[in-house]
Subunit: 229 residues, 2 copies
């Protein structure tokens, strides 16, 4: 599937990188010990030399993705001069989202893990630092963290089409025909009609993940700005 580097000896790092690649290419349900081993030209049991068990593998995979996000955000810091807290956090979260879009299975996986990688704490610590430096009380900063949820990692809290980036509700609802839908879902139908009518390109006007993400983000940032006044 991928070009195989053949006979370099395995390592935890190489195993985890291959695991992320496998999940990206085939979906998270394809990430089994046996298939991962095959991908690495090795027997399944060899993996147990580098990782305690599958739980450790999944923890390592989450860790790897988080590290990728944190690194991307870190590179931002390097250039990014002095800006106000709002545009700073905004940039960070949007950068995180860029990375996350390459690993659409990651939000659900992270959500199902019991332990959180240490990197995440470091990252959230910086966010608190940014807020407090801008004059937030610790109390409001704390509330802000909870309100952000996993937005700082680039996860939209979208209900619809959580697995794919682009699609949305019409894909699912399209099964029922338009007339029936107009009857049972009058407001959603009217909403879609109004949105499509307004949009320049009717095929693209409905549900743009990037636009929605930024809207939600700004809604939260502006709300916090008001509270901290």
């Amino acid at each position: 599937m991928a070009a195989k580097a053949s006979r370099k000896p395995l390592s935890r790092q190489r195993v985890l990188a291959a695991a992320v690649g496998l999940a990206d290419a085939q979906g998270i349900q394809a990430l089994t010990m046996r298939r991962l081993a095959a991908e690495l030209d090795v027997e399944a049991m060899s993996l147990y030399y580098h990782l305690r068990d599958k739980e450790a593998l999944l923890d390592g995979v989450v860790e790897t993705v988080i590290a990728e996000i944190v690194a991307a955000v870190g590179r931002l810091e390097a250039n990014g001069g002095r800006t106000d807290w709002r545009t700073r956090l905004r940039q960070q979260f949007l950068t995180a989202r860029d990375v996350m879009l390459r690993h659409p299975w990651a939000p659900v996986l992270l959500g199902s893990r019991r332990t959180i990688p240490a990197d995440v704490y470091t990252y959230y610590d910086e966010i608190v630092g940014t807020l407090v430096a801008a004059g937030f009380s610790y109390h409001l900063a704390h509330r802000a963290l909870h309100a952000f949820g996993s937005l700082p990692l680039g996860f939209a809290q979208e209900l619809f089409s959580p697995a794919s980036a682009g699609g949305s509700m019409e894909d699912d609802a399209a099964e029922a025909d338009a007339a029936a839908m107009a009857e049972t879902l009058p407001h959603l139908t009217a909403m879609m009609a109004a949105e499509i009518h307004d949009a320049a390109d009717p095929t693209l006007g409905w549900c743009d993940g990037q636009v929605e993400f930024e809207f939600t983000l700004d809604l939260l940032l502006n709300g916090l700005e008001r509270l901290h006044g």
Copy 2:
């Protein structure tokens, strides 16, 4: 584990109810065809008479939980007289949360499904109806839906301790001792200290899921109120 109703014949409904119960009691990873069958005093293969396969089982389980939420919200409507859109949605989302807290595995499960139960669309249709009746444009209502994410179903978008309702970050971070933590996570440490100091009961003052949920919810509702002016 549960009292068994012995020899009444199975049905899709009974199977799904048992599945929800099993997930509640033992966690979602305990929900296997074989264990579920055992719980129902039946062989695993019998389940296939009522459900096509495990995917259909999981879809049915999600469906069942959603139906429970929608029903609870529906009972609200019965009494609830005329109120403004904000308190109305607020009540609905908080009611949904009450139900959801009894099925802490549900958010992750729903997030991993490809198809969304029809009930969800009906529910979100009502939300759009409420917003539009209050004077929202369809465009803003659309944005609002995305911003809400799964809040209407009572899901907090909490990053920490997604599986349990009460716990939070200190549980995980407590492994490292306080001194080391103060060094690597100065802002979070200071934040915790400030919060605990302010709280009446120091053991309860940190991370109250209910309070945080309501804060986030109000942040969004107030932000939307401003935009719709």
